[in-house]
Symmetry: C2
Subunit: 178 residues, 2 copies
C-alpha cells in the first residue's frame, strides 16, 4: 500500500451514483438537488441516509420538512439533472425550467420525479451534523420504479467541471453493453 | 412510475460496492467485516459514514474504538472477504484464517488491509442510531491505495446467498473490459 493524497484514493471509490434529493415546502413548489452521497442505514425498518452540505437551499428545506424523496435519474435526464445542480431552488422553479416532471408520492407530501429509475419515499426520522454537511435519515414509506428506464447515471469524478457529460451509465464507464 | 415492493426498487440501486470495516481493540487483534453501506459525509474536513448492524461484533468494536479503516478489497480477495462475512471476529482471528494481511496505518491504531484498492483511515467523530443499525462517522486521517490493484468488487444483490461469486467487478457486471 502507498499513502496518497485523499483525492487520489477518493477516485478509487468512484464511480458514484447520482440521485436527486427532492424536497417540498407544504403548499410550496418542489425542488430537486443532485447529490451522490447516500446509503441505506437500516434493514428493518428500511432507512436511508443522505448527506447534504450546510450551505445548500436543500439543507434548509430538509430541516423544515417531514419527508423527502431520493430519485435516481435515468440517462435521458442528464442535462436536466445538471441544470438542477447548477441552479438554486431559492431563485428558480427547477420543474418549470427543465423537462423533469413531478408525480405524487404514495405516502408523503414530497413528489416523485417521473421516469426515475427508482424513487425512495422517506419520512424524516433524524439527523446529525458531520463537518460541513448534515446527514438526514429517513424511513422508507414507499418505493417506485420506472417501467421504461433501468439504467442509472454515475459520476466518475467532479461532474461540476464536466457538465452533463460527467454523468455516465455503468456500461458507458466500463465499455460494456449492459 | 409504478409503486413496487422495496426489494424491487432496491435492486435498482445496485450494484453496490463492498468494503471491509476494519477495527482493532487496543493491544488486541484486528478484525474485518464486509459491508456495503457507506458514504462520504463532509468535504472539509473529509468525513465518511458507515452503517453497521446493532448485533454485529464490529458494532461493539466500533463503539469502543477511537478509529477504524474502510478498506475496499480487490477482486482477488473475494473468497477471503466472503469468509470475513460468514464468521465472527468474536470466535476467529480472520487475519489468521485467510490470506488477508494487515499493514500499519499512518495516523491511527487500526491497521490497513494489504492490497486493498483503497484504504480510508478514519478517526471516529460521532454516531447516530438508525433503526437496526448505527451510523458511525469518522474524519479522514490518511488514505492509501494499492499499487497493483485498481478494480473494486460490488454486490448485485444478496451476496450472502451467492457466496463469493456474488462479488463482481463493474466490468464483470456490465460485460465491459474496464
Amino acid at each position: 500500500m502507498k499513502q496518497v493524497k485523499p483525492e487520489t484514493a477518493i477516485v478509487r471509490k468512484h464511480p458514484s451514483w447520482i440521485f436527486q434529493v427532492v424536497t417540498a415546502k407544504k403548499n410550496g413548489r418542489p425542488n430537486a438537488m443532485p447529490a451522490s452521497w447516500c446509503t441505506f442505514c437500516s434493514a428493518e425498518p428500511i432507512m436511508m441516509a443522505v448527506s447534504v452540505a450546510l450551505d445548500r437551499h436543500t439543507h434548509e428545506l430538509l430541516e423544515e420538512t417531514d419527508d423527502f424523496v431520493l430519485a435516481f435519474p435515468n440517462k435521458e435526464q442528464k442535462e436536466d439533472v445538471f441544470y438542477c445542480g447548477r441552479n438554486s431552488g431559492e431563485n428558480v422553479d427547477k420543474f418549470e425550467k427543465t423537462n423533469l416532471e413531478t408525480t405524487p408520492a404514495a405516502e408523503i407530501n414530497t413528489p416523485l420525479i417521473e421516469d426515475s429509475v427508482a424513487c425512495f419515499e422517506c419520512k424524516k426520522s433524524g439527523s446529525i451534523e458531520s463537518g460541513d454537511h448534515t446527514i438526514f435519515i429517513g424511513e422508507l414509506s414507499a418505493t417506485h420504479v420506472s417501467e421504461k428506464y433501468t439504467e442509472k447515471i454515475y459520476t466518475t469524478k467532479g461532474w461540476h467541471e464536466k457538465g452533463a457529460e460527467g454523468f455516465k451509465t455503468l456500461a458507458e464507464i466500463t465499455g460494456g453493453g449492459q
